[in-house]
């Protein structure tokens, strides 16, 4: 079955340093990958979604590249901001099977300090 692995449960960074949150996946078919972000006391919301044409999605300074060879979709940002502190989920939708279901990773809590 489908699975998503986020190896870091907690990442603490100093403001201004680069961000990289890891995401690897297993899927039977060619999946769509997503990053969702949840700020404290808010609902999760979509941050990025992979494209079918291998373009690199970007939003709010964050970007992620789908590497099918390594089954990865790591989230990156060149310079962390205090407002980036949040819970980040990587998720997968299987395009070949039931693509109504999203499988989520366990999440990475990013804390950015001054």
């Amino acid at each position: 079955g489908d699975s998503v692995t986020q190896t870091e449960g907690l990442v603490t960074l100093t403001e201004g340093l680069p961000v990289m949150l890891n995401c690897t996946y297993q899927s039977t078919y060619s999946p769509f990958l997503f990053w969702y972000v949840q700020h404290l006391n808010e609902a999760p919301k979509l941050l990025l979604k992979s494209f079918t044409d291998n373009k690199r999605p970007e939003h709010q300074g964050f970007h992620a590249t789908l590497h099918k060879s390594s089954s990865s979709f790591h989230l990156q940002k060149s310079s962390a901001q205090l407002s980036d502190s949040a819970l980040y989920y990587c998720a997968l939708s299987d395009s070949g099977g039931s693509n109504y279901k999203l499988t989520f990773g366990k999440g990475t809590l990013l804390t950015v300090t001054p």
Partner: protein, 111 residues
């Protein structure tokens, strides 16, 4: 834009009690979901519904029932609350392209 409304925001129950959580969306989305959020365990799918009166079990459906009587609403029932259980239940809706829109959640505590 639309909104997903979950009620209640906080739910305190007793062990063994049947508890119902409600979700309404005005996006006119066909598909709706119930996820459970536990710290360190991510979001786990309980039930989803592709259209009105459709129900599909997720990975965590045991101990839960769901109902989708209208396109705009999707309810979840905890059939027998477990003592000391604490979790957040998130409702979401989507169009086929799978961008999920989430509600703010219902926080459950069982005494």
């Amino acid at each position: 834009g639309g909104i997903i409304t979950q009620t209640p925001k906080f739910l305190i129950g007793q062990e063994g009690q049947k508890l119902t959580l409600k979700c309404q969306q005005n996006f006119n989305h066909d598909t709706m979901y119930w996820y459970r959020q536990d710290s360190g365990k991510g979001l786990r799918l309980i039930y989803y519904s592709i259209t009105e009166n459709d129900l599909q079990k997720g990975d965590l459906s045991e101990g839960y029932d769901a109902s989708r009587e209208k396109k705009s609403s999707f309810s979840l029932t905890v059939t027998s609350a477990q003592k000391n259980e604490m979790a957040v239940f998130l409702c979401a809706s989507s169009i086929r392209e799978n961008t999920l829109y989430f509600g703010a959640g219902t926080r459950l505590s069982v005494l």
